[in-house]
C-alpha cells in the first residue's frame, strides 16, 4: 500500500530541509543526484539486457542512504571509501555519468580502473574516493587508516565508509571499528542494510535486529535510520560528521533500506525473495518519497522537475553514447601500472 505523503511531513513538515540547514537549491541538488544515480543504473540494465555489456551491479533503492549521508561531507576535503553499490556517493563526490559509463563498458578511459575492474569498483585519488576491490569489508580498515593519517597530521577531514550488512560478518569490520574506537578516529561507518547478503537474509547473518547495537561494543554511538528517508539520513550523518570533526570519534549508522534489483545482472532474486516483498519496498522508493516531500514543500515545481529530468536524461544519453564508442584498452595496456616504480627484471 502506498505511503501517504504526510508521512514525511510528519517528521518536520514542509520546511524540514530548511530546519536541517539545507537551502532549497541544496535540497534539489540532493534530489538530482539521486535521480541521476537511478537513471544511470536503469540505463545500464537496459544495455546489459540487450547484450551490449556483460555486467551490472545496482544502487537502486539505496540512493537515499547514499546521497543523504555523503551530502554531510565536504567533497575534496573529506574522504569516502564506498562499496560497489555506492553510485550515489561517488556522483555526489564528483564522479560523472560519463565516468560510470566508461567503467560500465570497461573502456581505456575509465577513470576508476582503465577498464580493469568490473563496474561499481569506484576509485579516484583526486576526488578522495578510496579505490575498492571485490573482497568485502577491506575498505573499513582503509577508512580507519585514512582517518588515522588525518589525525596524525592534525587535520579535520572526516572519512565516510560504506558497506552492506553482509560485510558486517567479516573480521575486518570488527577490526576496523575496534581500531577506530580506540583512537577516536574521524570515521563514520555507514551500513546500508538492504536485508540480504546476495540471498542470505539478515536473520541468517546475525542474531540481532539492529547492527547499530554493535557500536556499544566499540565505545561509540550506533544509530538506526530509515535509509529510504534521505533527509533523515542527512540528519544523522551530519551529526556523526560533526562529532567526528570535533575529534570525538566514530559513529555507526545503520540505514535500513532495500535493493530493488537482484544482487547483480547474474543473480535471480526470485530464488530467495517474494515479488510481494519487493513490491512493498518499491512503494517506499526513496526518490519518490523525497519528490513528494519536495513538492509538498513547494520546492520542487513542475518546471524544476522537468528541468532536472532533462538534465539527467541528457547526461545519461551523452555518457552512454560517448562511452560505448570510446576505445578499448590495447593489449599493451595489460602490463602497465603493476608498480608505480617499475624495476626491470
Amino acid at each position: 500500500m502506498a505511503l501517504k505523503t504526510t508521512e514525511v511531513e510528519a517528521k518536520g513538515g514542509p520546511s524540514r530541509h530548511r530546519s536541517l540547514g539545507l537551502s532549497d537549491e541544496q535540497a534539489l541538488r540532493i534530489y538530482e543526484v539521486m535521480r541521476l544515480a537511478r537513471a544511470v543504473d536503469e540505463r545500464m540494465w537496459l544495455i546489459n539486457r540487450q547484450g551490449r555489456a556483460p555486467f551490472v551491479i545496482s544502487c537502486q533503492g539505496q540512493e537515499g542512504a547514499q546521497v543523504g549521508t555523503a551530502a554531510a561531507l565536504r567533497p575534496g576535503h573529506d574522504w569516502v571509501a564506498p562499496y560497489y553499490r555506492d553510485a550515489g556517493v561517488v556522483l555526489w563526490f564528483g564522479m560523472t555519468a560519463r565516468d560510470q559509463m566508461l567503467s560500465f563498458f570497461a573502456r581505456r578511459e575509465d577513470p576508476n580502473s582503465g577498464g580493469r575492474q568490473m563496474p561499481g569498483h569506484f576509485g579516484s585519488r583526486k576526488l578522495h574516493i578510496v579505490t575498492g576491490g571485490s573482497p568485502v569489508a577491506t575498505q573499513l580498515l582503509h577508512a580507519a587508516g585514512v582517518a588515522l593519517a588525518s589525525k596524525q597530521r592534525k587535520e579535520d577531514a572526516v572519512t565516510n565508509v560504506y558497506f552492506g550488512e553482509g560485510s558486517a560478518s567479516q573480521g575486518d569490520t570488527h577490526e576496523a571499528m575496534n581500531f577506530a574506537g580506540i583512537h577516536k578516529l574521524a570515521v563514520v561507518f555507514i551500513c546500508e542494510n538492504n536485508g540480504y547478503a546476495i540471498s542470505v537474509p539478515q536473520s541468517r547473518q546475525m542474531a540481532i535486529a539492529n547492527l547499530a547495537d554493535r557500536a556499544a561494543g566499540y565505545g561509540f554511538p550506533g544509530v538506526v535510520v530509515d535509509g529510504n528517508d534521505v533527509l533523515a539520513c542527512y540528519e544523522v550523518a551530519r551529526q556523526a560528521v560533526e562529532r567526528a570533526r570535533r575529534g570525538e570519534g566514530p559513529t555507526l549508522i545503520e540505514a535500513k533500506t532495500y535493493r530493488f534489483t537482484a544482487h547483480s545482472s547474474d543473480d535471480d532474486d526470485k530464488r530467495y525473495r517474494q515479488a510481494e516483498e519487493v513490491a512493498i519496498w518499491r512503494q517506499k522508493d526513496p526518490i519518490q518519497r523525497y519528490a513528494r516531500y519536495l513538492r509538498d514543500a513547494g520546492t520542487l515545481t513542475d518546471q524544476r522537475e522537468a528541468e532536472i529530468t532533462d538534465r539527467v536524461t541528457v547526461q545519461v544519453d551523452e555518457a552512454t553514447e560517448y562511452a560505448e564508442q570510446a576505445p578499448d584498452p590495447t593489449p599493451d595496456d595489460l602490463t602497465t601500472f603493476v608498480y608505480k616504480q617499475e624495476v626491470p627484471s
Partner: protein, 327 residues
C-alpha cells in the same frame, strides 16, 4: 664505519627515516613501549611519540589494512607483523588490496607501504615461529619482496623500502638479528631494491642464497677454498623483482650453480632461479643446476633433531657443493 648487528641496523634505518620524513610511522603489535619483541623499535616510542609508533591491537589484518589507508592519505607506514608465520590473517589485505591498488586503478593510486616481518628458522621456534614466506609473496605481482642478509644491506634496503612508492615486504631473518655482524657505512646509504650482490668472488662454482643462508654459504665457500674450490657467492637481497642479470652473469662465469634456501622446495625461489638460468645461460652450464632447500613439510618442528633435519646448514651446503664441483 662501525660494526653493527642486523637488528641494530634495522633500528637505525627506521630511526633515520622517521627523523628524515615526518610521514614515516610504525604500527604493529608491541612496537611501542615494549620496543618490539626483538627490540627492533627500541627507543622509538619515546623519541617519536604515540602518533608515530603505534601499538596495534592483536590483529594482523588491522595492522596492514590501516597502514594501507594511511598510505592512501599521504603517510608512509612501516607495518610490523610480529612473526612472518602470523601474516596469514593479513594476506587478504596484502594480496587483494595492497598489491593491486596501482594496477586496479591504472596507476591512479600507489601505496608507499613497508611490511616488516621476521622470518626463518634455526631459533627453536617450531611450526609457528620459523616459517619462510618469500616464495608465497614473491608470486604476487604488485609486491616487492626484499631479504637482506647483512647489517649494511638490512639498513640500506630498509631505507629503500621506506622511500619506494610501492608496497614492499621486508623480510628480516630472526637468526641473523644478533648472529650476523658487519660494518655499516655511515651516512644515508640506500641499497637499491632489485639488485643482487656478489658477496664473494669465485670461478669454479656459484652459490646463490639470501637471508641466513647467505652467511652459511660464505662459511662454506671459505672451507671450499681450503679444498681448492673457488666458490662465488651471490646474495639475491631482493626476491621480487629478482635480479636476472646477476643470476645469469654468475651462471655464465662459473658454469655450475647451487641455489640454497630454507623455504620449502616445491615452487620455491630456487625453482625460479633455476628456470632463469635454463632460459638464459643453458649453453654456459657445465653441470645441472642444483638446489638445497627445506623439505616439503609444513614447517620445522620444535624438537632440535627435527629442526636440524629441516634446516640447510654449512655441512649440507658443503656436501652438495662438492658434488657439484666434481661434475
Amino acid at each position: 664505519m662501525a660494526v653493527k648487528t642486523v637488528i641494530e641496523a634495522i633500528r637505525e634505518g627506521m630511526d633515520e627515516e622517521m627523523a628524515r620524513d615526518p610521514s614515516v610511522f610504525l604500527i604493529g603489535e608491541d612496537v611501542g613501549n615494549r620496543g618490539g619483541v626483538f627490540l627492533a623499535s627500541d627507543g622509538l616510542f619515546k623519541k617519536y611519540g604515540e602518533l608515530r609508533v603505534i601499538d596495534s591491537p592483536l590483529a594482523e589484518s588491522c595492522i596492514v589494512g590501516v597502514a594501507i589507508g594511511a598510505a592512501v592519505n599521504g603517510m608512509k607506514p612501516i607495518a610490523e607483523i610480529q612473526f612472518a608465520d602470523f601474516i596469514a590473517p593479513a594476506m587478504n589485505q596484502i594480496i587483494e588490496e595492497a598489491a593491486r591498488f596501482s594496477y586496479r586503478t591504472a596507476g591512479d593510486f600507489n601505496l608507499p607501504l613497508v611490511i616488516r616481518a621476521p622470518w626463518g628458522g634455526g631459533v627453536h621456534g617450531a611450526l609457528y615461529h620459523s616459517q619462510s614466506i618469500e616464495a608465497t609473496f614473491g608470486h604476487i605481482p604488485g609486491l616487492k619482496v626484499v631479504v637482506p642478509g647483512t647489517p649494511a644491506d638490512a639498513k640500506g634496503l630498509l631505507k629503500a623500502a621506506v622511500r619506494d612508492p610501492d608496497p614492499v615486504l621486508y623480510l628480516e631473518h630472526k637468526r641473523t638479528y644478533r648472529l650476523v655482524k658487519g660494518e655499516v657505512p655511515d651516512g644515508d646509504r640506500v641499497v637499491p631494491i632489485g639488485k643482487a650482490d656478489v658477496k664473494r668472488d669465485g670461478k669454479d662454482l656459484s652459490l646463490i642464497a639470501y637471508g641466513l643462508m647467505l652467511t652459511y654459504c660464505l662459511e662454506a665457500a671459505e672451507q671450499l677454498a681450503a679444498e681448492g674450490v673457488s666458490a662465488e657467492v651471490l646474495d639475491l637481497r631482493t626476491i621480487k623483482p629478482i635480479d636476472q642479470a646477476a643470476i645469469v652473469a654468475t651462471a655464465r662465469k662459473t658454469g655450475k650453480v647451487l641455489v640454497v634456501h630454507e623455504d620449502n622446495r616445491f615452487a620455491g625461489i630456487a625453482a625460479e632461479v633455476m628456470a632463469i638460468i635454463m632460459e638464459s645461460a643453458f649453453d654456459a652450464l657445465d653441470a645441472p643446476v642444483m638446489r638445497l632447500t627445506g623439505p616439503d613439510v609444513p614447517a620445522m618442528p620444535f624438537n632440535q633433531v627435527l629442526e636440524e633435519a629441516f634446516m640447510p646448514n654449512v655441512d649440507k651446503i658443503l656436501a652438495k657443493a662438492r658434488e657439484l664441483a666434481a661434475y
